[in-house]
Subunit: 461 residues, 2 copies
């Protein structure tokens, strides 16, 4: 094992040069005009996985952006680990807030800045380099490995379930490892045991049948922006609770054990607020910030637009106003059910002066993974070796809907072994990955592959 770790240590510079190349391709899955860049990224990965020494490397087509597959299955008698990640990234806007261009990776203060550095190109690259270290030093892996990197995570992984269904045998595995989450903070490695789900909607408030002059008509018509603002304002009560009827019906109560586990984590509201530039935090009354983030559901406005938004003044009373509104879900909320509850509620609160349309764009289910499973135990051991520190348990506010799909379609549990940081601007300008975590991640993954067969055997006893 030492030769593997020495090899990793000796190749830091090369790893960064290769990763920069991967990060330079703007693989924004939500933008139609970037379709060719998506394909270029998949082909880059295909080529790189071949160079690394993986076998059976191939592009798997979907109805949308392609996925990339590879495997190495010559470690007989070992469990088969499926490594999942995604190569697509969030849009880079607002572009003018980036200190360095989003698709020209730049190192500053021990961090690598680029769109996708942490979410999730940097993290899939961690696995590739851990695999390479074994294959270039002895030519074998300690456990069977399959890889699936998809290109539609940021747009809801719509075609992934069909892809898994179509390639059930190819993707058959004993355990899945997903590296798309954060460790708790720099120097505090952690395993994520719970994930929030998502229900994402777009709403439209329709007033008059045409944009109107706000002088000639103002005062007689309910302005759709005003109506939308009034409706959005009513979606939270004065205690910060979501008012959508039935929203909390299926929410699993937070247990005493969970509350105690979260209290072990180093956390100060004041530090958190200061880092975000806020004088005061906001949230549901009766819960701590970590509880609000990990085990309580929320409702957020992700975007709003209507009327004149250009330079200067236009005295228009617009015909329509729009918003993107999403909800983060916790067990045992169901994203379809919540989407429907929201649609029903939003239509019910619309005043007679306007009409309302609601589109449920996509959703993902919340999930919890057992802490005493062999996969999570291997992860805890590997993190301790990779980072030299006992990891803690944490939740994750974001969604990885694929965890639910894998369980359903491949009957396998997922281990969430993430190497991001919570403040790395995953969906914002100046996204980065911390280089200590990046290299620590490669070491951790190497240990994970090495240790998995033994924990697996014990677990199966």
């Amino acid at each position: 094992m030492q030769s593997i770790l020495d090899f990793i240590e000796a190749n830091h510079e090369r790893y960064l040069a290769e990763l920069k190349e991967l990060l330079s391709i703007p693989s924004v899955s939500s933008q139609t005009e970037r379709k060719a860049e998506m394909r270029r990224t998949a082909e880059w990965l295909q080529n790189h996985l071949q160079v690394v020494g993986l076998q059976n490397v191939q592009i798997l087509e979907t109805a949308g952006h392609p996925a990339v597959y590879a495997d190495w299955l010559n470690a007989s008698g070992t469990p088969t680990l499926l490594i999942y990640g995604h190569y697509d990234v969030q849009p880079e806007d607002p572009l003018d807030e980036w200190k360095t261009p989003p698709f020209e990776a730049t190192i500053r203060d021990g961090n690598l800045y680029a769109r996708g550095a942490a979410d999730d190109k940097g993290q899939i690259f961690i696995h590739i380099k851990a695999i390479e270290a074994f294959l270039k030093n002895g030519g074998t892996l300690p456990t069977n490995i399959k890889i699936i990197f998809e290109g539609e995570e940021e747009i809801g992984s719509e075609n992934l379930p069909a892809l898994i269904e179509a390639h059930k045998d190819l993707l058959k595995c004993d355990l899945i490892v997903i590296s798309d989450t954060d460790i708790f903070e720099k120097g505090v490695p952690s395993v994520t045991y719970s994930l929030r789900g998502l229900s994402y909607t777009e709403v439209e408030v329709i007033g008059p049948n045409s944009d109107l002059h706000s002088g000639s008509f103002g005062g007689s018509v309910h302005n759709p922006i005003q109506a939308l603002a009034e409706m959005i304002a009513s979606l939270h009560d004065k205690n910060g609770r979501v008012t959508v009827k039935g929203f909390y019906n299926d929410v699993r109560p937070v247990s005493k054990a969970e509350r105690a586990a979260f209290k072990k984590l180093p956390w100060k509201d004041r530090t958190y607020a200061k880092k975000l530039g806020l004088k005061q935090l906001y949230g549901e009354k009766g819960y701590t910030t970590l509880e609000r983030l990990w085990v309580r559901p929320t409702l957020e406005c992700n975007g709003i637009w209507g009327g004149y938004t250009g330079e200067g003044a236009k005295t228009v009373l617009p015909a329509r106003a729009f918003a993107k509104i999403s909800m983060r879900l916790v067990p045992n909320q169901d994203s379809m059910k919540i989407g429907k509850l929201f649609e029903k509620h939003f239509k019910a609160i619309a005043p007679k002066t306007v009409q309302v349309k609601v589109k449920v764009l996509h959703g993902g289910e919340p999930a919890i993974t057992p802490i005493d499973s062999p996969g999570v135990k291997t992860a805890v051991a590997a993190l301790e070796k990779g980072f030299g520190k006992k990891p803690l348990y944490q939740g994750e506010g974001g969604s990885i809907p694929i965890v639910v799909d894998f369980k359903k379609l491949l009957k396998a549990d997922s281990v969430l072994l993430g190497f991001g940081l919570p403040d790395e601007n995953a969906h914002a300008p100046n996204e980065f990955i911390n280089l200590d975590n990046f290299f620590g991640g490669i070491r951790t993954c190497a240990h994970f592959y090495k240790d998995l067969p033994e924990y697996w055997k014990k677990g199966k006893k």
Copy 2:
């Protein structure tokens, strides 16, 4: 006079061809990239006024877009009439809602469709053609005339007061006529006796110091879009009254006589709502729709934006959200004072979880013109001859701040002689001018010039 009217009748086709040319130049004053088009329009007008036979034609430079001046001062012993209009237009967006291109004027069902057809290129063209009818038939005008067409009305006429100040002698006059308003409805000619003012602001709500991932941070931070929505929602109470502290302090109460005058106008709320595609109107409790539109102040959201507004889903919790908020003012509200009251109020209602910036972009004062003045009397007589029908009195919900400036700087009253229609989409897609009103307007203006000297003499006795 019959030869003048016959000439007008005989030249309808040519008028439309010339107006289409004027309407083809996209003179959007608010957009920096259209600066050259603004100059082109001023030069087109300069050339056309020369061809028509006006004298002393010249472009007057300002700190912004230029104005165009011309005169004809050979009718000794007559009052000097200053004709004011503007050649700049509103932005054409949203472009995809236009049935025919905004800068390719098209006739459909007796209307001429184009950006600026009614507001205000079509209306300044009415005066040019009435003047031409006299100068091409006898070579003289019945009264002295000066023309000033500005290029910044849609952006608040910021440089016009300085221009008037700099050319006080050139612009000296006895009366001003402004054609930038509507008649009450097709077949109901009317004179506008009151105008609303305007105070236009842009607000910014600032939350965290960077866009955040709505999964990782949602639930702990007051979303700036939500905060903005809550603040906007609070700007009206349940009776539709504006809650800005002190907003109604200086509002002139609506008199019994005004309420009675408005009741003479043909009006049905149901027809109005139906035309706008609305099931229910909205407005301040205790006032009729016409009162709400003409003699009561309002607050409107002209635009709102924040977060992700593109295609698909982006799970962002944005750092900032913006809105354009304007108020329509009535006598004796003061636009500066109201702007300050709004700024103070908006900052006062901001929760501690966000920061707020308010910019007061521009303003204009409300105004009332005496109904028994010689100018208004001439207008009433001219409208009756031009349209064959006794005109009514009405208010105007929009603003013409220049009325206030003219009174202050030139010590002259303004007569509001408008030929638009209230549903002509002045600031919206598919703006048009009705051709009956266009030609009726030319006849009315010819009568106005002809009758003014006599009414003026009587008025001065």
